[in-house]
């Protein structure tokens, strides 16, 4: 941002790093994988310039572990990966959830399963983002659809991670990660930055996992004088393991509730041509742009079509989807997978109106035409 003009043509992946730096990222650990590699490469280049640390780990398991370590040591931390690496990160992602470690995980989705189509876009990890690790746990996941949004929502991802002490997933797709578009930088003074809540008590009074009213415990960094214990075992307020059934149940419930009950605080979404929409397309990420073009076309032929675009893809925007269902005669969920977000939309909206799927797993972005045809009853 030392350049005078405040905009630049850059890739989504680069915008992600710019957002992270704007949010205060000081630590990145990762392992290269297409199509997310630029996030690591640009972090490697920019972090030392701001006194931050980059490290290339031996694999994705270690990368996820290292950012948890980095965060515990007090630095805002991020990693980036794609499908296969995201699968490998799941165990330690669950650790971050239960140990309440703020961190951001970027997953630039490519064609799966397995090695699949490494250089093609897909949205096959919508459900994995929520359910990929074992056991019940909280997850926040955001899906930008442009370079600008990638920048802005990466900042928000850090803010949510810090505020709620939880891992936040930037669930991108190759389309957004690799496209180049204009990014307009924000003035630092305009950017809201949230830092983790620190303990105000004396070290010997610190109960590391005693939540305040807001369900979130203050977090000290290792080395600050608050010597405490962190574990992935079910633990009590002190942070030490317990087998007490009541406490165990309360812990898991609190963890999930601190996200689920605060959904309104993180409910990002866009409505496009929704005022009078009778047919509603629900789409996110790259596909939502196809949907907009399709809607523009469909509107020309007189169809009242609108878009509801969740940016916060987890937790589920139940209230908003329910409202859409109230209004819509028909909902289409368009995704580059065989139907994932569809299931939750169908569950919530299906009670009020028919919900249909538009899917594609060929490694290409769904086109506006495919949406138009689907809406026109073409399929």
């Amino acid at each position: 941002m030392s350049n005078e003009k405040n905009y630049k043509l850059i890739q989504g992946n680069e915008a992600c790093v710019e957002g992270a730096l704007a949010a205060g990222m000081k630590f990145f650990a990762g392992y290269p994988i297409t199509p997310s590699t630029e996030v690591a490469e640009i972090s490697a280049q920019k972090l030392p310039q701001v006194g931050g640390k980059f490290i290339q780990m031996e694999d994705e398991i270690a990368s996820m572990a290292a950012i948890i370590g980095g965060s515990l040591a007090g630095l805002k931390s991020m990693t980036a990966t794609s499908g296969p690496g995201f699968s490998l990160m799941q165990e330690n992602l669950g650790y971050a959830s239960i140990a309440e470690i703020p961190c951001v995980i970027v997953n630039v989705q490519r064609g799966g399963p397995s090695t699949g189509l490494p250089t093609s876009p897909a949205q096959g990890e919508v459900m994995q983002a929520k359910w990929g690790t074992h056991g019940d746990h909280p997850i926040i996941a955001l899906t930008p659809n442009s370079v600008q949004e990638t920048y802005e929502y990466t900042i928000k991802a850090f803010n949510l991670a810090e505020k709620y002490r939880t891992p936040v997933i930037m669930l991108m797709d190759e389309t957004v990660g690799h496209m180049r578009e204009k990014l307009t930088y924000k003035d630092p003074s305009e950017i809201e930055i949230i830092d983790r809540k620190k303990p105000t008590c004396k070290p010997d009074e610190y109960l590391a996992y005693k939540a305040d009213e807001d369900m979130i415990p203050p977090m000290a960094s290792f080395g600050e004088g608050y010597r405490y214990h962190v574990t992935g075992l079910t633990h009590d307020e002190t942070g030490f393991p317990t087998n007490n059934n009541k406490i165990s149940g309360e812990l898991i419930t609190r963890l999930v509730n601190k996200v689920e009950k605060n959904v309104d605080d993180m409910a990002y979404f866009e409505e496009y041509e929704m005022e009078d929409a009778e047919v509603v397309i629900i789409a996110f990420g790259g596909v939502s742009r196809s949907a907009k073009t399709a809607i523009d076309e469909l509107r020309k032929s007189g169809k009242k079509v609108g878009l509801f675009r969740p940016i916060t893809i987890w937790p589920m925007l139940e209230k908003q989807i329910d409202k859409v269902a109230e209004q819509a005669k028909e909902i289409y969920v368009a995704e580059m997978n065989l139907g994932q977000y569809f299931y939750e939309v169908d569950r919530i909206a299906g009670k009020k109106c028919p919900v249909k799927k538009i899917n594609k797993v060929t490694g290409e972005l769904i086109t506006p035409n495919e949406i138009i045809e689907a809406v026109n009853g073409g399929k």
């Binding site: 000081k26 630590f27 650990a29 030392p48 310039q49 701001v50 006194g51 640390k53 490290i55 780990m57 031996e58 694999d59 398991i61 270690a62 990368s63 572990a65 290292a66 950012i67 948890i68 370590g69 980095g70 965060s71 515990l72 040591a73 007090g74 630095l75 931390s77 165990e91 330690n92 650790y95 960094s221 290792f222 080395g223 600050e224 004088g225 010597r227 405490y228 214990h229 962190v230 574990t231 992935g232 075992l233 030490f240 393991p241």
Partner: protein, 271 residues
């Protein structure tokens, strides 16, 4: 400072007694680590102990430092993040033979390769204690475990050889029986600016001992007493090393350390 004061100062006494079985070697080894830290006079706020999962990995919970009990095998990857983020911390990893060398083998060799300033103490009891006695990569060939009901057909890892081959700059082996020597090895390991590895031969009377008819904890201590020999002795008289377990300092050869190398890069931009 006597042992009692040491306990008061460094242990979370309200968490004691620890979950380890009667006679478990892990307790004795943990004491050697505590005494080494005391000897070095480290500031408690600047010590960070990280572990994975296993009986041995329960150690940090009993110590009054910054303590982190992670996932199975991953302690060194978490520790690497901590140390890289805050090089002022003295980061010590306490791990088991399974944790460090089975599931965690990759992080072990890469931490060694990077020569990052982390001291790893592996409580090696030749068995997966926590899960009830399955053989581990260090279980001697032919010995029994619940998953080696006909005797272990796997070859045995020599962990010191492994980490030395991977690039560690300080490598040593001690035992629970040779507690004073072990303490010194840990002191040297922590003092080494780089990746240090100390294998502490422990004992698991509950599983390894019972499965292999090695007798009780006392018998197992006696085994260590009778079957170990210091490297310095063997270096002079190789024949004395036959059929013995070599203990002592295996390798000590400092080279540039990871976080210091990285600091050079950062410093370029700080002018």
């Amino acid at each position: 400072m006597n042992f009692s004061e040491m306990t008061e100062k460094y242990y979370r006494t309200d968490k004691l007694p620890h979950i380890w079985c009667p006679g478990c070697g892990h307790g004795t080894l943990l004491n050697t680590v505590v005494r080494a830290i005391d000897k070095l006079g480290l500031n408690k706020d600047e010590v960070c102990i990280v572990s994975g999962i296993g009986c041995s990995s329960r150690a940090p919970g009993y110590l009054d430092f910054n303590t982190l009990h992670t996932t199975h095998g991953r302690a060194l990857a978490f520790a690497t993040g901590i140390k890289h983020a805050n090089p002022n911390l003295h980061v010590i990893v306490i791990t088991g033979d399974g944790d460090a060398s089975a599931i965690g083998g990759n992080h072990l060799i890469h931490a060694a390769r990077r020569n990052i300033d982390i001291t790893t103490i592996c409580f090696n009891n030749n068995i997966y204690g926590m899960t009830g006695g399955q053989y581990s990569p260090t279980t001697p060939t032919g010995d029994f475990g619940t998953t080696a009901p006909y005797g272990n057909t796997d070859s045995t890892f020599d962990l010191c050889n492994l980490v030395q081959g991977a690039g560690a700059t300080y490598v040593a082996r001690g035992t629970a029986y040779h507690a004073q020597a072990m303490e010194k090895l840990v002191v040297n390991a922590i003092s080494n600016k780089g990746f240090s590895f100390v294998e502490g031969l422990s004992l698991c009377p509950t599983y390894y001992g019972r499965k292999n008819k090695k007798g009780d904890a006392v018998k197992m201590h006696e085994f260590l007493k009778d079957n170990c020999i210091d490297k310095k002795v063997v270096d002079k008289k190789p024949e004395m090393g036959e059929n013995k377990i070599i203990i002592g300092e295996m390798y000590n050869n400092p080279k540039p350390e990871y976080t210091e190398n990285y600091k050079v890069v950062i410093d370029k931009f700080q002018k």
